[in-house]
């Protein structure tokens, strides 16, 4: 909004607000040296005003020492005439070149944090967390699982003792009180076993009814792998870290965004789970390959679990899940290592 009045003075239109009054006065503004001149009559010396440069747009504000405020839209040339030099920050904030160049850098930083930073930080935290934290988390899960009488296991005490002894033998020199074997009747879960962060391993009656002791031992070796590598705690921490990162990236722009953030985090969790399953398999394979034991038992156990009616049914419901949506690596792919280590079909 510039208009030429005199032969040598350029003027701008501004709005003046007197200290403490909301009344707007339209004034013409010009620069005389470093002094501001309003309506050609009121002169404000350089020490009598502060320039508040715009962020982005062209809204310039001049705060006068006496409390008056002057707004000039499109006052870039006026400020320049007053001797104002834009700060480095202002110049950067207007630079599209910098902004576009930053996109791949930020993507790289974000991607690195997503794929390596968060898992690394979570694993470090898991390694340094005091043991009572794990105990606390595990106890809460156990209380939830064994909350009611429905889960009372029907497994014979003799078999329980046998399996507990096998587990104690397997973990050997590790602190014995770390591992506890729990039995759970769970028709909805079906034949399964899972490890809680602190070393509590839960096996279902449905699993024990289709597997013999040797096969259960192979499954236990896999679960011990989960405990030894602290998968429970690491997974929980990694998931929390990713949620925080995702929320930070998407910001608070829209609430709907938050619902959609959950989906990619979930997918990445699945990746972690598969990674951990493979790691636990490795532990099982190592243990089963020593001392006259056979990796074949793990293959047998897993195939029996997959062929059980409950698992078949779950498979029907889920349809054929693509690899990236599966929590466990595809069974045959998983068993290749065990089958290779399995000398003769017993």
């Amino acid at each position: 909004m510039t208009s030429s009045v005199g032969p040598d003075t350029e003027t701008w239109t501004g709005r003046l607000f007197r200290a403490g009054l909301s009344r707007a006065e339209t004034v013409s503004v010009s620069a005389r040296g470093q002094d501001l001149v309003l309506d050609g009559t009121r002169t404000v010396a350089r020490h009598g005003y502060t320039i508040v440069p715009p962020i982005g747009g062209g809204y310039w504000r001049f705060d006068f020492a006496n409390g008056d405020t002057l707004e000039v839209i499109g006052g870039d040339a006026l400020a320049a005439a007053l001797g104002h030099r834009p700060s480095l920050l202002s110049r950067l904030e207007r630079s599209w070149r910098l902004a576009l160049a930053s996109v791949p850098v930020l993507l790289g930083i974000g991607g690195a944090a997503w794929y390596w930073g968060v898992p690394f930080a979570a694993d470090q935290a898991a390694a340094h967390l005091p043991p009572w934290v794990e105990r606390q988390v595990t106890q809460a899960s156990l209380d939830l699982i064994f909350r009611d009488e429905k889960g009372q296991s029907q497994v014979a005490p003799a078999r329980r003792q046998r399996l507990t002894a096998i587990l104690a033998d397997m973990v050997g020199p590790e602190p014995l009180d770390r591992y506890h074997l729990h039995f759970l009747d769970a028709p909805l879960i079906g034949p399964n076993a899972f490890a809680l962060p602190d070393g509590d391993i839960v096996v279902t009656d449905q699993l024990l009814s289709i597997l013999d002791d040797e096969e259960v031992t192979a499954v236990l070796a896999h679960e011990v792998g989960h405990v030894r590598h602290r998968h429970g705690l690491r997974l929980a921490l990694r998931a929390s870290g990713l949620s925080i990162l995702a929320a930070a990236a998407v910001g608070d722009a829209s609430t709907a965004g938050h619902f959609l953030v959950a989906a990619p985090v979930l997918l990445l969790n699945l990746r972690f789970t598969r990674e951990f399953e493979t790691e636990a398999d490795t532990t099982a394979l190592e243990w089963l390959s020593q001392g006259g034991r056979s990796p074949c038992t793990f293959s047998h156990a897993l195939r029996k679990i997959v062929d059980s009616p409950e698992m078949k049914r779950a498979g029907e419901i889920a349809g054929h899940l693509p690899g990236w949506l599966a929590t466990h690596p595809v069974t045959e792919e998983r068993l290749r290592r065990f089958d290779a280590a399995c000398p003769v079909k017993s």
Partner: protein
């Protein structure tokens, strides 16, 4: 040379009264490099720059907002925001950690936070309004002695009674909170006010409650065959699982209703606000708002978050440009009130706890 020369003769004639729509001059194109610089500096300084970033983006949005030819101003000092953030983190972090560990000590922290809450609300409102200006006149929040008592009644006492009454008093508590905020706010020396709308708050909260109950009933109806089969130690039939596919559309419907209720509450409140004879009317409609939410979420997802500047400007533009100020006597006659400082502590607490103070821009 004197700084002051009388220029009252140059003053415009009394500005005519009338209705003015807000105008938003910001754009994603303009905000994008600002946002990028904020992000880069925040990363490089490991987060220490974030209060400065907040001030710059707040300034951008305030100064891009025009009403009747004048812009809004944001005057917070980054250092006070930084100090506030550190204090709030120290207050909130123990609770966040203890609740994750399911430690009983979390309850002690929660009690401390509940007691500190109303005090933080007052501090936050004072800060947020104090740093906002329009036409060179600052907004402010009451410093009268009774204001703290009001905060404890409305943000601790009434919600507590709401819990005791099984939620029957919650809509009233919510109404009183907004009413109290409006009643203690000022523009310059002029107090704001809100016409009560207890009935509407009850109607809207009632719709929300009925929706939640209906959703809960549907979930129970869908899950029941599964739970029964488990109880009887049977494998549930396949059809029991099929019902679960209905959960997602039901969930979407609940979100839709919640959005509608939230929007209506905001509209109810805004349209009852008054500043002397100045009032507001809002033309927000569910369709465009829903489209804004869905399209913004998709934009963010597809661009991995890089559409954030556009998303924010679109939302601001819609909300502001459908808000009209009715000023029958114009906006020229307001005068500033007594000045007082407010630290940023409360402000940070409010964003951290996500307390909706409701009258921000």
């Amino acid at each position: 040379m004197p700084d002051l020369v009388d220029v009252s003769s140059a003053a415009d004639g009394p500005a005519p009264g009338g209705s003015y729509a807000f105008r938003f001059h910001g754009s994603g194109r303009e905000y994008f490099p600002i946002w990028i610089v904020n992000l880069l500096l925040t990363i490089v300084t490991l987060g220490i720059y974030s209060p400065w970033a907040k001030v710059r983006s707040q300034r951008y949005f305030h100064e891009a907002t025009e009403l009747a030819g004048a812009r809004f101003g944001y005057h917070a000092r980054p250092l006070s925001i930084l100090i506030g953030r550190i204090i709030v983190l120290a207050l909130f972090l123990p609770y966040a950690i203890l609740i994750k560990l399911q430690s009983p000590y979390a309850l002690v922290c929660l009690a401390i936070l509940a007691l500190a809450g109303p005090w933080i609300v007052v501090k936050a409102l004072r800060f947020r309004l104090r740093v906002t200006s329009y036409r060179g006149v600052r907004f402010s929040f009451s410093h009268e002695p009774g204001v703290m008592r009001g905060a404890y009644i409305n943000f601790l006492g009434l919600p507590f009674l709401g819990g005791l009454s099984l939620g029957l008093l919650y809509p009233y508590a919510l109404h009183q909170q907004y009413y109290w905020i409006a009643d203690n706010s000022r523009y310059g020396a002029t107090p704001m006010g809100m016409r009560p709308a207890v009935g509407r708050f009850y109607a809207l909260c009632g719709i929300l409650a009925v929706t939640f109950i209906a959703f809960g009933a549907c979930v129970v109806a869908i899950m029941r065959p599964l739970i029964q089969a488990t109880a009887n130690h049977e494998v549930p039939p396949l059809t029991a699982y099929a019902g679960m596919s209905l959960l997602l559309p039901l969930y979407a419907a609940v979100i839709l209703v919640a959005l509608l209720v939230g929007l209506s509450l905001l509209k109810t409140m805004v349209q009852r606000l008054s500043l002397a004879e100045v009032t507001l009317s809002a033309g927000w409609r569910l369709g465009p708002v829903l489209w804004l939410y869905v399209s913004n979420a998709l934009l963010l997802l597809v661009t991995l978050g890089f559409a954030y500047p556009w998303v924010r400007c679109r939302a601001a533009r819609y909300m502001l440009e459908n808000l009209t100020v009715h000023a029958p006597m114009g906006l020229d006659h307001f005068v500033a009130g007594a000045q007082s400082e407010a630290s940023a502590f409360g402000d940070q607490a409010a964003t951290f706890f996500d307390i909706d103070v409701g009258i921000g821009f």
